[in-house]
Symmetry: C2
Subunit: 230 residues, 2 copies
DNA sequence: GCATTTTGTCAACATATGTTCACTGAAATG
DNA sequence: CATTTCAGTGAACATATGTTGACAAAATGC
């Protein structure tokens, strides 16, 4: 007969307000996701972190993991979804900012970078597992980014930007922009924190790249591509 | 007293021509590198593959690893160097192709894609560990890509492309191009092999993106950036 | 208020990992 | 030819991992 002294459910988050059972479950679920995100943030890539590491970081016993996910792959997918949500929120934010007539690019970039710095783990995860990671996760991210691209293209259509172009072309442009964005996010998050000068340079470079892309986009003619195709 | 029957050095590659001792050593070293590259090619990202897996794939006992590398990190760096060499070779190839006056972009892209398909493991590794991977490896790749960018910018200067622009601007443009290239490589290598139609589409999209970048590059004015900076 | 779910814990397992050490046998050295 | 060097072997270690099963106790359902 064992005596348990330290068995008052052990897992009580600092902000544990949810009193229901399902609420508490979701709480530790988020704990696990958060733990994985945190682990990924300092160097480790997702496929290299172990189930036990995650539970350790989350302050939970390894077996508790299975109450929430079948395996690490499933957690990975949930993670991707979370990152996707962050990206959508970002898009909504930029959209809300309206269409400042002057220097729209610099403005949007500023919002974007602010967002990146506010959610470093999400962006690092997205950038890092997009081409690396497990095939499952990679595919999931590809989908998520695809949705994002389409959404952005639709936005541009709505504000009437290059409304003469077919959807394909708009999406092509947007994907170029988003690639550049994710790339910049990764670069910026990797900077040593004590080098603000480097950050400024990188930021200016980033802005230039986006500006250049839109410079090209303004010149883009559907016939250009078509004429070269045949 | 143990009897050894199967101990004729066990490790003899198919194309084992090198007869010297150092030669044979370098041979198994390459075996290890090759094994790692192969493992990475089917899904696993570098930090997730184990020392033992590598030696297993290389057909060598685990302890033999230490005769060549201190640890996996060191092997990772060697791997990056190898990928860098491949990239340089590619650049030389494109350079050798000269400056076809018409449709230079389509031409270069063709050479590039051919190269990517010929060395899928190198490109997958580069693309995948660039943002993911261990910090050490990531930094190494960043350096390698940086060299590549500078080299390419210098090339463009030599052929007189936009010779009016400062070096910064040229490098900014090149880094945009290279990002797009690495991105496309990753996308293309992830395609299911039985979907040539998808490959064509992706390829056309890739060409369009590069074309758009150069369209922007032709319009780029140093003053544009400058005027917005102040 | 009792029975039932259900979230999390504990103990234990088979297996995989990185690393050590002493060894072998062929190439290099003299 | 005798000696030394050293790339590769084999056995063994401590440790870490994923996963199972039985159990505790709090929330839920009746």
């Amino acid at each position: 007969m064992r005596v348990r002294k330290k068995s008052e459910s052990a897992v009580v988050g600092p902000e544990a307000q949810g009193t229901g059972r399902g609420a508490r479950k979701q709480m530790t679920r988020e704990r696990l996701l958060d733990a994985a995100l945190t682990l990924m943030n300092d160097g480790h890539s997702f496929p290299s972190i172990s189930l036990r590491e995650v539970t350790r970081e989350a302050g939970v016993v390894p077996t508790a993991f299975y109450r929430h996910f079948r395996d690490m792959d499933e957690l990975g997918l949930a993670l991707v979804e979370e990152c996707g949500l962050t990206l959508r929120r970002l898009l909504r934010e930029v959209r809300k900012a309206g269409v400042p007539t002057t220097d729209i690019i610099r403005h949007s970039v500023a919002i974007y970078l602010q967002y990146v710095r506010a959610n470093p783990r999400h962006f690092r995860t997205a950038a890092s597992e997009r081409h690396g990671g497990s095939p499952t996760m990679r595919q999931a991210i590809r989908n998520e980014v695809g949705h994002f691209i389409r959404e952005m293209a639709q936005d541009m259509r709505l504000i009437g930007y290059r409304s003469d172009l077919p959807t394909d072309a708009l999406e092509m442009i947007c994907s170029l922009v988003i690639n550049t964005m994710l790339n910049a996010a990764s670069d910026i998050l990797d900077l040593p924190a004590d080098q603000p000068q480097l950050a400024r340079e990188l930021e200016e470079n980033f802005i230039s790249q986006i500006r250049l892309v839109f410079l090209g986009a303004e010149q883009w003619r559907a016939e250009t591509a078509a004429s070269h195709k045949r």
